[in-house]
Assembly symmetry: C2
Homo-oligomer: 227 residues x 2
Amino acid sequence: MHTQTAASLEINRRPSSSISSRQPHAEGPFGMTGTPMRFARNSEIYGEDEAAGYLYQVVSGAVRTYKILEDGRRQIGAFYLPGDIFGFEASETHIASAEAVCETRVIMVKRAALMVRATHEKDLARQLWDATAQELRRSQEHLMLLIRSAEDRVVGFLHDMARRAVKTATAIELPMSRQDIADYLGLTIETVSRTFTQLEQNGIISLPTSRRVELRNRAMQNRLMAA
Amino acid sequence: MHTQTAASLEINRRPSSSISSRQPHAEGPFGMTGTPMRFARNSEIYGEDEAAGYLYQVVSGAVRTYKILEDGRRQIGAFYLPGDIFGFEASETHIASAEAVCETRVIMVKRAALMVRATHEKDLARQLWDATAQELRRSQEHLMLLIRSAEDRVVGFLHDMARRAVKTATAIELPMSRQDIADYLGLTIETVSRTFTQLEQNGIISLPTSRRVELRNRAMQNRLMAA
DNA sequence: CGGCATATTGATGTCTATCAAATGGCGTGG
DNA sequence: CCACGCCATTTGATAGACATCAATATGCCG
């Protein structure tokens, strides 16, 4: 049920060396100047209970936030894709950890600087509030998925990805592993895998590779084309 | 699985007559002047997709927010108890419906008035943001419950109630039915009932009545006493 | 080619849902 | 005050979905 061996966790624990390519300035979220950063696959962006010093925007790649339960299981709270802003599950300290799902570039903006500007720029204050409210809605959508059947959860996840993820004309490219999907949906990796297979057998999707999903269903194709 | 018969829904649909005891002014959340209102058991406070005109604070009683799934099941998103502020699952429109769990008094404040004041009172803007962030954390806690076993979910729910609910020296008074609890935890009423029985048989709780829960476990008693 | 991580498939067990019935609590009217 | 009816809750029997344990397959990189 739990996700990673001690060994792989250790590997993940040397993220500092993976940070590179710092340039002092770049356009960040909320029109702020931010710091571009690179994170290697599985490296930590921030840890649970750390002081929340920054807000982040994904430039390329993908990010997962997660918490580890007492029994060792990992619950992924969200995936963030290019353009998404994250780091909002926080007021003073983060309530989840964040890691790069794959090679990822983000822009970081100092939270304190935003707060200062927000005190006299009412528009910015409103944007920050809205972003948090949107995150709340996203969390509630996620919660609604978790009470449904395995098939519904996987289909719901694919719908979401079809709307948000990097995609070609015919397929979605999933940046995350089956284990990541399982930990997001509260299922085991075996159940996720079996559900993918079953969706393929039912002609709802096809799987040219395990990370590439073509949606054969009209409703899903519409989602794929929209936005 | 679903919760209410058509008949009982109809009964719930005459809430207007249940509103009474309107006084023009009372101290509301965020130091605002608000309108006190009474709602009868099971009456609607607002509906999903309604314009979000107000924020609310519970004075007495209890409120549930919920969404109905396509298959007819009801998912309760949160319970709000005296002192709690709700109505934040919204930017323009509500994303859930709200109902009184039992005879309930709330104070309503106009969202628009708050927004106006928030533009020049930076402290108020910050309070609104914080309240939304807290709601986000609450939602994430709820989400973490839903991936656990039935027993863990019920225990987690009781922990939360022990911290928040009206309580005597020795017991918690639950304002909500087993069905409400089931719909909050993503379980059936039968499983919730069996889990209560089993917790009692294991000496973890005792149930003088179905709505009154005494915590026999030290960790839970500590929660009961704290806060 | 070999080694390792990821993914799939198979066999079996457990937990919770479902269907069904019995019990308990409480207000109303006789 | 008691009997009845209604609703909430509990209990029982069974089925189904997903987890678990185990093995095999696939892909990737050195």
